[in-house]
């Protein structure tokens, strides 16, 4: 039985004007928790199965700009444990085929 291919997840950060937490540090923890289950890509590259949008605060400025649907997971703080973020992304990827 072969290994399941990694889920392609597009990563997008907000502009980071005055974030309430270290977005990059948080993403690195998420990436570590995901291990080989997620292949990180960008929105511009296309063909992603899910998207992770990391906003630095509740304002979530990107929400007005990005035409993303249910495939996207929006984070506005670092309160969700990285493993839970990964679980939600995998679920979204599964739902999007």
């Amino acid at each position: 039985m072969g290994r399941r291919p990694a889920l392609r997840v597009a990563l997008k950060y907000c502009g980071g004007c005055d974030p309430a937490y270290d977005r990059v540090e948080y993403f690195q923890a998420i990436a570590r928790a995901a291990g080989g289950r997620i292949a990180w890509t960008t929105l511009e590259a296309g063909q992603h199965q899910a998207a992770l949008v990391i906003c630095g605060c509740a304002r979530a400025c990107l929400a007005e700009e990005l035409p993303l649907g249910p495939e996207a997971l929006w984070l506005k703080d670092d309160q969700l444990p990285p493993a839970e973020v990964v679980a939600r992304l995998l679920k979204k990827g599964k739902q999007n085929g």
Partner: protein, 481 residues
């Protein structure tokens, strides 16, 4: 009356409701006929009048997200960042018309804070507070009634929590629970516009401990309900309203909001008007939301009021021949700088507002907090500069009665004259307006309205992101942990 539309409707609605109000030790039969209250009523009426004026309609009205009907914006739940910005713009615009507090924002903020928080209480506890509140909100939007936001309890001994007060009534609380509702007892202090409102939306005054369930209360009560008593607060120079026009300074619209102490003496509240009862963990967030929404306002209304002060000072300078002096121009420019600084704070916290789980939008709490904190300083500085520009005459002018006096009136006319062609009466009117807007109660309101400075400083600890700031400094300095 099904719906209050005009100023006349509003005044009639106040006459009809027969609420119990005391002024200077006397029961007031009709607040609309009493000179102590008429300026405040005129101010609040402006929120109705401007909704009918096409030049203000865009700001003063909104479309209800509940019914799709056109409503007064003071009953609207903010649905976007644009709504948050329009709120601030509206407050500045009304302040230009009144030069004083028009009171209705307090209830508006209470409506929005309660809307957001009841939604979250229901999510956690499977209660039906939010639906009850939506029904109440529909009633307020349809009737266009004025709601006072009941936040501040008198609190007795501040070192003791509510449940340990010798007299628990210093915090509003549930005294009795019945199948069909609750009976409440207590008080709300500094209630802006209380004597000329229709309803009070009671909220907890602070974060509550788990054992203070009876004090974690949100409910709506008509101010005409049995057991509700209001005692009106004194203001600086309030007796001038009884005997003069010019000496009042702003005769039509008075001074700040008109605050009362509202007492609840075993008031029954039916279940459909109870929106939180015992969910102590939501008290803190409700208070914070109300405070943030209210602090958002201050650069709008105080910005607008300060515009009037700047205009009055410029006129005073022209009337007394000092307008060309460099230091006067500089002071006026400084006053405008401070005014626009206040306004920009309110706009910025609105622009950085975010959507809550309920769908309602909410200003950035740190920036809103900072705006109000600036008001505790800048309004005082604006007033200081106004006193400087206007001159000592501000504090020594004779009575209006002296100006009108058959024998000595000519002396007032002659010796208080300024630039040729300007009437002495007009000069006195402008100076009295400045006096009214820059002293006593008006300043205290800027200090403590929407929370005292210390309550704002607390918020920097909560939202100031100190850890991030330290991280920035460490990175630049090359500090390694």
């Amino acid at each position: 009356m099904d719906r209050i539309v005009t100023k006349e409707d509003y005044i009639q609605s106040l006459k009809d409701q027969k609420h119990l109000v005391y002024y200077a030790g006397e029961k007031v039969e009709d607040v609309t006929a009493h000179p102590a209250f008429q300026p405040h009523i005129n101010c609040a009426a402006m929120t109705y009048e401007m909704a009918l004026r096409p030049e203000f309609e865009d700001l003063a009205t909104a479309t209800s997200h509940l019914t799709g009907q056109k409503i007064n914006r003071f009953t609207h739940i903010h649905q976007s960042v644009e709504d948050l910005i329009k709120k601030v713009q509206l407050l500045r615009a009304i302040a230009h018309e009144t030069g004083s507090c028009f009171q209705r924002c307090v209830g508006w903020d209470a409506l929005n804070a309660t809307y957001m928080t009841t939604y979250e209480i229901d999510q956690k506890h499977s209660t039906d507070y939010h639906q009850r509140f939506v029904d109440y909100l529909k009633y307020i939007q349809a009737s266009n009634k004025m709601v006072v936001g009941g936040m501040t309890d008198t609190k007795g001994d501040r070192s003791l929590p509510p449940g340990q007060q010798p007299d628990p009534d210093v915090f509003t609380h549930v005294k009795e629970r019945r199948a069909d509702g609750i009976v409440i007892r207590g008080n709300k202090a500094h209630q802006t516009g209380g004597v000329n409102s229709h309803e009070i939306l009671i909220m907890p005054t602070q974060a509550m401990r788990p054992e203070d369930k009876d004090f974690s209360l949100v409910c709506a009560v008509p101010l005409s309900a049995p057991g509700v008593v209001q005692i009106f607060g004194r203001q600086t120079n309030d007796e001038r309203r009884l005997s003069s026009e010019i000496d009042i300074g702003n005769p039509r619209f008075g001074l700040v909001g008109g605050e009362s102490l509202i007492i609840f003496e075993d008031v029954f509240v039916p279940n459909e008007r109870v929106f939180m009862c015992g969910e102590t963990e939501f008290s803190g967030i409700l208070v914070e939301r109300f405070a943030t929404l209210h602090r958002q306002n201050y650069g709008g209304c105080k910005g607008g009021v300060s515009d009037v002060i700047v205009g009055a000072c410029a006129l005073a300078a022209e009337m007394q021949g000092t307008a060309g002096a460099g230091h006067i121009k500089e002071k006026l420019a400084e006053m405008m700088h401070l005014t626009e600084t206040l306004y920009s704070g309110s706009i910025s916290c609105s622009a950085m507002g975010a959507k809550t789980a309920s769908g309602a939008f909410y200003p950035d709490p740190l920036l809103a907090n900072c705006t109000k904190h600036n008001v505790t300083r800048h309004v005082y500085e604006i007033a200081r500069l106004a006193h400087d520009v206007a001159g000592g005459i501000l504090a020594t002018m004779p009575f209006e009665k002296d100006l009108r006096h058959p024998q000595i009136g000519k002396y007032v006319e002659k010796y208080l004259a300024g630039v040729q062609g300007v009437s002495t009466e007009n000069r006195i009117r402008i100076l009295r307006l400045i006096e009214n807007m820059t002293g006593g109660t008006a300043l205290v309101e800027s200090m403590h309205g929407a929370g005292s400075p210390q309550t704002q400083k607390v918020m920097y600890g909560r939202y100031g992101k100190l850890d991030m700031k330290k991280k920035m400094a460490k990175a630049l300095a090359g500090v390694r942990d």
